[in-house]
């Protein structure tokens, strides 16, 4: 009984199987990538103005990527990051306040639900009047898109705390501030991350739409300009930059979550 063998020590054979499986998964992904691009190349090259095709996109990328797309991308990312940096603490704060303080819950829930269901795009005309075609406008659109899923998930997380664990905290004479810090917050962390991931998605689409409708720079603007002149391959360069960026972004968020919640799940262990 005193043998304290870490579970990972005993999992050697399983992890070897898992790594072999991962290799096969990667091979499969590479294969599917080759197939998709080949089919696209064959179909697309017969009608380059309609769908474009990978070789044309590659050519356009060589010409446009460094001088045009990357500076625009940087502008987009700065607006996105700023918006998320504003939305996250506000969303988490309001979510916890609503989850823990009944008055806040009762007072704010109708607004949150109403605004969450309203398309943010509908707000753009008003926001243009207030803020102009500016950096602030794009940041506001991102923050508005991201803040609500973060609020709603943080709220859900703070409501889903195991009551037995709360009792455990109380039995050790924890006050409400200690309960929040030692139980409610760690227990809610996976929920907050879920909200943050949805928030990122809404933030990305928000910044692109804002740039398309009311900005002079950014990836969204570039896409609109290229599309206007039927430069479909150039539009796809921007789309792919965005796609690859999203891929890395979500992988990064998953790693940060792994690092911040090394215990696995928040289910009470029996």
């Amino acid at each position: 009984m005193s043998a304290a063998v870490g579970p990972y020590d005993s999992l050697q054979p399983t992890s070897r199987i898992a790594s072999r499986f991962a290799t096969r998964k990667n091979a499969l992904r590479l294969l599917s990538l080759i197939v998709v691009f080949s089919v696209w190349e064959i179909l697309g090259s017969s009608n380059p103005f309609f769908a474009s095709h990978p070789l044309a996109i590659l050519e356009a990328a060589q010409a446009d990527l460094i001088p045009v797309v990357l500076p625009a991308f940087v502008t987009t990312i700065i607006a996105l990051a700023t918006g998320l940096a504003i939305a996250t603490p506000i969303g988490v704060g309001i979510g916890f306040a609503m989850g823990r303080i009944r008055l806040m819950d009762v007072a704010l829930t109708p607004y949150i639900n109403a605004i969450y269901a309203t398309p943010r795009i509908a707000l753009i005309p008003v926001l243009v009047l207030w803020l102009g075609i500016s950096f602030e406008l794009r940041v506001t659109i991102v923050a508005l898109g991201a803040v609500f899923p973060i609020i709603i998930n943080t709220y859900a997380g703070s409501k889903h705390v195991d009551s037995e664990l709360l009792d455990t905290g109380y039995s050790f004479t924890a006050n409400s501030r200690q309960i929040l810090r030692t139980i409610v917050m760690p227990s809610s962390l996976p929920f907050i991350f879920a909200g943050f991931r949805i928030g990122i998605g809404r933030g990305v689409s928000g910044v692109i739409v804002a740039e398309m409708t009311s900005a002079l720079t950014g990836l969204g603007r570039i896409m609109i300009e290229n599309a206007k002149y039927l430069q479909i391959a150039e539009v796809f360069v921007s789309i792919m930059v965005l796609g690859i960026f999203s891929l890395f972004l979500f992988e990064g968020v998953a790693r940060v979550q792994q690092w911040l919640t090394p215990w696995g799940n928040t289910e009470r262990l029996r």
Binding site: S2, F172, A174, L269
Partner: protein, 255 residues
Amino acid sequence: MVNVNKAFATSGGKVLDDFNLKVRPGEFVSLIGPSGCGKTTALRIVAGLLSPSNGKVVVNGQDSLGPSRDKAIVFQHFNLFPWRTALDNVAYGLEIHGMKKKERHQIAREYLSLVGLSESEKQFPSQLSGGMRQRIGIARALAINPKLLLMDEPFGALDALTREYLQGQLARICEERNLTTLFVTHSIDEAIYLSDRVVVMGVKPGRIIEEFPISLRKPRAEYNFRAEPEYAKVREEIWELLEQQIRKTSEAVAV
């Protein structure tokens, strides 16, 4: 020295009626009774997690309604914090009391080694077996050096062998440290093994119906106490009482 006595009656559905129990310092008292007799309710009232509709809990001569630093509880389902390592789980109470990290870790290590888990201090509960988790639950309760240890069917969720092993460990720790313990259980055998006194509770309303002092020599792990005549006699008497109570519950359901 420690002096625990409590008296309360709960009305409003009468979960508990006229429940009076004194636990002497250093004494190990078991509460045993059929489901629904209010033994867990009684324990939670003593712990301060529930309030009695009237009556009071007195620990060491002072009224003790609500949680306090001199009481610690071990839960049936362990209730470890999944986001804390074994060490930080054990140190939880001390952290809540405001003790500095270095100090509380040092104390937590002592208690981890008391329950034989020194080597698991960095592991999360999800990486440990049920028996190991409950040993951490016990270490967490003992780490605040409580005057009264409360245990709510602590071995109820464990398999039979682990349970037997942990009963032995608990008996040893309680004797070495002269702990005052109130222990809720379903198991007559467990109650007799560990206790100085077994309190049998009845249903409808939940109340104390009989008390049995257990004079079997300690430590009981060192000889076959189950072969003693006293064991068989007390076990039989407790079972008869409990059987009546269980029949009372099932008849009520049948009607």
